[in-house]
């Protein structure tokens, strides 16, 4: 099955030469495998697969909580998904978020990991600080960000405004406009809202990627750097190109997969701050599901989005895997 080999590759099966996967079928362990996987399988089916199946079924109905039954409406919900501009914007918002947050948080995570790895001191301190956002409750943090990004009172615009009059407005168009007409509304301006949400997403996620990269870096053989040095790779960039980046390939595949899945699942910030607005510019899929199914009690519609959502994530993961796989070396 496609999904199976999908992750099989992201996992470097440490197949040291001839010593292959020697999982065992010895005497007297015939059924152990089934006993051990059974609880997990049952729970997976009951807790994850069954609800998905229910959702898939419901997506063809107009079920609404509190009603006695539901009518079979066929593909009507899916038709709406294709037809209504709201859902076009939903796809846009989601795509924007994923396409911005995934590369940016990975690049920043990698950058931070490399820097932290190369400085002599305070590495642990930076690491802890950068990991803070991962640990904080996103809900609380969303509230704080909303606060900090208040158009006039927030610490961000306040700090920006302090720079006015220093001549910076002559240099930067952004400042020129901001100093004259006020700095952006961030969450209230549909030109900024999704980017601001992206920013929070990056802020929250990159520390996680950093930790993964730090872990990846520890397993890059030091020999290789020395070999590169002997080969004449004198510059940091050459060594990065020749050794670090390729050796981090498997880590990157893992990071990309996890970050993509997580970005698709962005929800807390949108729910807490923008509720999908303004003008549906931050109407990401998870929020759409929530809004339809839970807030508006249109469970059929919510289920339809859920199904589409799962389809998207799966397609993307598979596609990404096929694109990336050929370029990645698994040690």
């Amino acid at each position: 099955m496609a999904v199976a080999d999908l992750a099989e590759g992201q996992l470097p099966e440490q197949s040291r030469g001839r010593r292959r996967d020697r999982a065992v079928r010895g005497i007297g362990l015939g059924t152990a495998g089934y006993w051990f996987t059974a609880p997990a399988i049952i729970l997976m089916i009951v807790i994850l697969i069954a609800p998905v199946a229910i959702a898939a079924l419901l997506s063809f109905t107009d079920y609404s909580l509190g009603n006695d039954g539901a009518d079979w409406v066929g593909l009507e919900n899916y038709g709406d998904l294709v037809g209504k501009s709201t859902y076009t914007r939903m796809i846009w918002a989601t795509a924007t978020y994923v396409l911005v947050v995934v590369p940016a948080s990975i690049a920043l995570g990698l950058g931070a990991a490399l820097l932290i790895n190369s400085v002599g001191r305070f590495g642990a301190l930076y690491k802890t600080i950068y990991f803070l956002p991962v640990m904080a409750a996103l809900l609380a943090m969303a509230i704080v960000w909303e606060f900090s990004l208040h158009p006039t009172l927030g610490i961000v615009n306040d700090s920006l405004a302090r720079l006015c009059g220093t001549g910076i407005e002559d240099v930067s168009g952004f400042f020129a406009e901001g100093c004259a007409d006020g700095f952006p509304l961030w969450f209230g301006d549909k030109g900024y809202a999704i980017w601001t949400i992206c920013f929070i997403g990056i802020w929250q996620a990159f520390g996680f990627n950093m930790v993964l990269y730090l872990a990846g870096l520890t397993s890059v053989p030091r020999d290789l750097y020395q070999a590169a040095e002997m080969d004449g790779a004198a510059g940091a960039w050459d060594r990065f190109r020749l050794v670090t980046w390729p050796m981090l390939g498997p880590t990157t595949v893992f990071v990309v997969t996890i970050t993509t899945i997580r970005s698709f699942q962005v929800f807390d910030t949108v729910e807490a701050i923008t509720n999908g607005g303004p003008a549906k510019s931050t109407y990401v899929m998870m929020y759409a599901i929530y809004e339809k199914a839970i807030q508006h009690n249109l469970i059929g519609m919510g289920a339809a989005i859920t199904v589409v959502f799962l389809g998207f994530v799966m397609l993307l993961t598979i596609a990404q895997r096929h694109l990336v796989e050929k370029r990645v070396h698994y040690a």
């Binding site: 020395q226 790779a233 390729p246």
Partner: protein
């Protein structure tokens, strides 16, 4: 001109002194081996030559240039690592090209897309590819050029690592236990190949190993290191035959040299476990050690009272030879003697025989472990 000179090299990591003043002149085209037990500082010394590690004191010269502050990539040396350190994501071809690209192409020419647009790049690439092919031919790895290191066997990887070192035509090759990851049979084979390669290239080789067999078989000269100093430097046969230090004698040779406690009497006559040697040594009344290699012990089968009474407890069959392990005089002093298969079969375990040293083969070491010469008769 590629002599390498080490003058008073010292190195310490924090408080631990690893090298305590190494002086060594390596001639152009020489195959020099650094041997010594694990942890004696061989790798450290090699890495100092390469520039991968900075010495704490002393000078490194290559040719007649002092290179103390030169980056590794500028020293024009090539290094072969124990782990091969091949770039696992690059094909063999690309692995071998890398040092050439880094040397011959400019920064922009190496850039992924842009580089392809620069004029003159194609010609350079062709040249360096030809270069790689040539080396691959020499090493007989042409058919592997398209593979990745992961698809190669140990010996093939070894050769690719060599190839990557060779393409640059460096002034010297530095090798840090390049064979230790191979299995026994392949190791023996590669030993011969390396020696051959050295003869063919005529370049300086500095070779680190803790396996004395490698050192003995390949090198022009070998330096035996212990605890950060070079105990003896010389041709392998000289070191085997004529060790200047008990530790050298013990380190070189397998099975280990037999060491027997002995005394010199006032006349300088040496006696060990009741047997007196023919030759005499200077000095008197001192406790000394007598070293005799297993192949220099002969069985004196007839009970003619010559040599030591020896009770073999274990026969070690190596196919071509047997080693007899046993005790001297029924005591606790262990002794190993070499015997032919025919001799060995005739002897049964636990049955006392006599062994005597071949004339002139025994060596004498003082209490300070230094060699004591016998007086010429």
């Amino acid at each position: 001109m590629a002599q390498i000179g080490l003058n008073g090299i010292t190195k310490s990591f924090g408080d631990t002194i690893v090298l305590q003043g190494i002086d060594l002149q390596i001639a152009d085209g020489e195959f020099l081996t650094l041997v010594g037990p694990s942890g004696c500082g061989k790798s450290t010394l090699l890495r100092i030559i390469a520039g991968l590690e900075a010495q704490s004191g002393g000078d490194v010269t290559i040719g007649d240039r002092q290179v103390n502050r030169l980056r590794p990539s500028r020293r024009d040396l090539a290094m072969v690592f124990q782990s091969y350190a091949l770039y696992p994501h690059l094909s063999v071809q690309q692995n071998m090209e890398t040092p050439l690209r880094l040397r011959d192409l400019g920064f922009w020419e190496r850039a992924p897309l842009l580089g392809a647009l620069l004029p003159g790049r194609g010609a350079k690439l062709d040249r360096l590819r030809a270069n790689v092919r040539e080396v691959a031919q020499v090493l007989e790895i042409e058919h592997l050029l398209a593979r990745k290191p992961g698809q190669l066997s140990g010996g093939q990887r070894q050769r690719v690592a060599l190839g990557r070192a060779m393409v640059r035509k460096p002034v010297a090759f530095l090798m840090d236990e390049p064979l230790s990851n191979l299995d026994a049979a392949l190791r023996v084979h590669m030993r011969a190949e390396l020696a051959q390669l050295h003869r063919a290239l005529g370049t300086t080789f500095v070779y680190v190993t803790h396996d004395q067999a490698e050192a003995l078989t390949m090198s022009d000269r070998m330096a035996v290191m212990m605890d950060g100093v070079i105990l003896q430097l010389g041709a392998p046969s000289e070191i085997y035959r004529d060790p200047q230090h008990r530790k050298v004698a013990e380190f070189v040779g397998s099975p280990r040299i037999n060491i027997l406690e002995a005394e010199t009497d006032s006349a300088g006559r040496v006696a060990a476990h009741g047997v007196q040697l023919q030759r005499r040594a200077a000095g008197c009344g001192a406790r000394v050690s007598l070293g005799i290699r297993p192949e220099h012990l002969s069985l004196a089968c007839e009970r003619d009272n010559e040599g030591w009474p020896f009770t073999p407890t274990h026969k070690e069959n190596l196919g071509a030879d047997f080693f007899l392990h046993g005790h001297v005089n029924g005591g606790s002093t262990r002794l190993v003697a070499r015997a032919t298969p025919e001799q060995a079969i005739a002897i049964s375990l636990g049955q006392e025989v006599r062994v005597r040293p071949d004339p002139g083969a025994a060596m004498l070491f003082g209490a300070d472990d230094r060699r004591i010469r016998f007086l010429e008769a």
